[in-house]
């Protein structure tokens, strides 16, 4: 029996995304109704319709696009550092078991550490600048990238490695042609987790040190008790997250086709 056109559309990529968007709209509508009905206090959560109205205002008056770009740049630099440093460290820990035994527990502990509380130290080292924000984001996201890279490399199926051995691959060929491509899905899970930790910390430090992009704007709007504006700025943080996640997924599909 063939599928109905509606089921086919729902199963398609566009269909799934449309359902996702509609779900968000329905949820927003429910929040609007709950606030209007007095179930949720509007002095804590503003009306979604007020937030929508506030967005053009914060774009014009608060220069939000520039701030969005500042935060996006910081996230981009932190992501590049995470990939450029975290993946090689994970690969080194995989390659040298003595290093793995020595460091894996510490790296795991680093993942649970509240790095953001060390911001005064970073301020002393890097000054009140974007570098501090990027470095805190990087430090916060590093552990999951290392651990997931290690997990991905260690989890490569032995038979694939044996195929490489049967074709007499060198250690370098074995890494670039088999180990890394096989580990990429797990490596990307680590990168996405690292990105989440980095973003939270970047916006948080912008808020704390009152410097830079969206975090600083949220701080300022909150101090003015401009709740719709604050929530509007948070929407731009979410937008940053969506942009980076989408880019990461596209990169993963490009580097690891056939999944």
């Amino acid at each position: 029996m063939s599928k109905s056109p509606l089921k086919e559309w729902m199963a398609s990529r566009i269909g799934a995304r449309s359902i996702g968007a509609m779900t968000v709209l329905v949820l927003i509508g429910m929040v609007e109704l709950a606030i209007r009905a007095g179930i949720v206090n509007r002095f804590i959560v503003p009306l979604p319709s007020e937030i929508i109205v506030a967005i053009p205002r914060i774009i014009v008056e608060e220069n939000v696009l520039h701030r969005f770009w500042q935060t996006a740049q910081e996230v981009l630099w932190a992501s590049l550092l995470l990939a450029g440093v975290g993946i090689p460290i994970g690969a080194l820990l995989h390659r040298f078991s003595i290093m793995r035994l020595a460091c894996e527990t510490w790296v795991g502990a680093l993942a649970a550490a509240p790095i953001v509380l060390m911001y005064p130290l970073f301020l002393v080292i890097f000054g009140r600048s974007a570098t501090t924000i990027v470095m805190i984001g990087f430090a916060a996201g590093l552990a999951p990238v290392i651990l997931k890279t290690l997990e991905g490399l260690a989890g490569t199926r032995q038979v694939l490695l044996n195929v490489g051995r049967s074709f007499k691959l060198t250690a370098s060929q074995q890494f670039w042609k088999i180990l890394l491509p096989a580990a990429l899905p797990t490596v990307f899970v680590g990168l996405k987790l690292g990105l989440i930790f980095a973003m939270i910390n970047i916006v948080g430090v912008e808020f704390l040190i009152n410097f830079g992009g969206l975090g600083q704007l949220i701080n300022e709007l909150a101090e003015r008790y401009d709740l719709p504006g604050t929530y509007g700025a948070i929407c731009f943080v979410i937008l940053t997250s969506i942009v980076f996640f989408d880019t990461t997924e596209r990169l993963e599909r490009f580097l690891r086709p056939g999944a």
Partner: protein, 290 residues
């Protein structure tokens, strides 16, 4: 035409061939593993030779050391007693003359069919154009024309094993070593893939060593079947298969085929029963210890 006459069976463990007729020589190979239960001899003093163009199967019950022997001949295990040579050249580590097809699914999921098959040519440094052209030749040979740009995730288990076979053939090995490559497939697919393997073997005159626990597969494909004992794995018997060439899966309906299967099963049954008894006693011992 299938020979239905009474087959002649050579019952012997003397597998020595004249010196110039040997391509692969396995000489007095033994392998022991140290486990928590003590030292286990997986393979014990196994010797055999394979002539160029010959198709030989090794059959035995689970746990008889077939896969260990596969790993030793393929150069994946270095620490063993005895010697393996290819045309007189001692195998130390993996040998370029030996191509391996594994029991587990071993295609690279991130590469298309043709990219998988082109892999050994890429490693050998062939130009992109040359390797893709060559790879397409082997893709056609295993009957996957039209699937060149598909990824393994889009193929069935049997098709993926054919990709793995084509990839190994693309490296043009002098000896093709296969470890139960069709074990995960259903019987009909296995028989039909056996036809494909026979066609390839006849076309390329490919020297092949097949490790299997499947009687039908061993008799359908082989010129010789080496029967192994249950632990420790020793050669129990060598059965020459005198079924006519070219062969295909129709051969399974012949009397001669049935005779060979019965003959081998007679030896194998005893070993398989020992294996089952051994497993049962180990389970009981384990329970008693708890």
């Amino acid at each position: 035409m299938i020979g239905d006459s009474a087959p002649s069976t050579t019952a012997s463990i003397d597998t020595a061939l004249p010196g110039d007729a040997r391509l692969l020589d396995v000489e007095r190979v033994s392998k022991r593993f140290v486990t928590s239960e003590g030292v286990i001899t997986a393979v014990d003093d196994v010797s055999f030779s394979i002539a160029p163009g010959e198709f030989v199967s090794i059959i035995g019950p689970s746990g008889c050391g077939k896969s260990t022997l596969f790993n030793i001949v393929g150069g994946l295990v270095a620490d063993y007693d005895g010697r393996v040579t290819v045309a007189g050249d001692v195998v130390r580590g993996t040998h370029p003359a030996i191509g391996m097809v594994f029991q587990e699914e071993s295609t690279f999921p991130w590469r298309t069919v043709v990219e998988n098959v082109a892999f050994p040519l890429e490693i050998a440094g062939a130009s992109k154009e040359a390797r893709l052209e060559r790879a397409e030749h082997f893709v056609n040979m295993v009957g996957l024309r039209g699937f060149e740009r598909r990824f393994p995730a889009e193929l069935s288990g049997g098709m993926r094993q054919r990709v793995a076979l084509a990839r190994t053939l693309a490296s043009e090995p002098r000896i093709l070593l296969m470890d139960e490559p069709f074990a995960a497939l259903d019987e009909q697919t296995r028989l039909l893939l056996g036809d494909r393997v026979l066609q390839i073997q006849q076309t390329l005159k490919q020297t092949t060593l097949l490790i299997t626990h499947n009687l039908t597969e061993a008799v359908q494909l082989s010129d010789r079947v080496l029967v192994m004992t249950y632990r420790p794995g020793r050669l129990k018997r060598v059965v020459d298969i005198h079924l006519p060439h070219p062969r295909d899966s129709e051969v399974v309906s012949s009397d001669a085929f049935g005779h060979y299967v019965a003959e081998i099963w007679h030896d194998l049954r005893e070993e398989a029963s020992r294996g089952i008894r051994d497993d049962e006693s180990r389970v009981l011992e384990g329970r008693a210890k708890r």
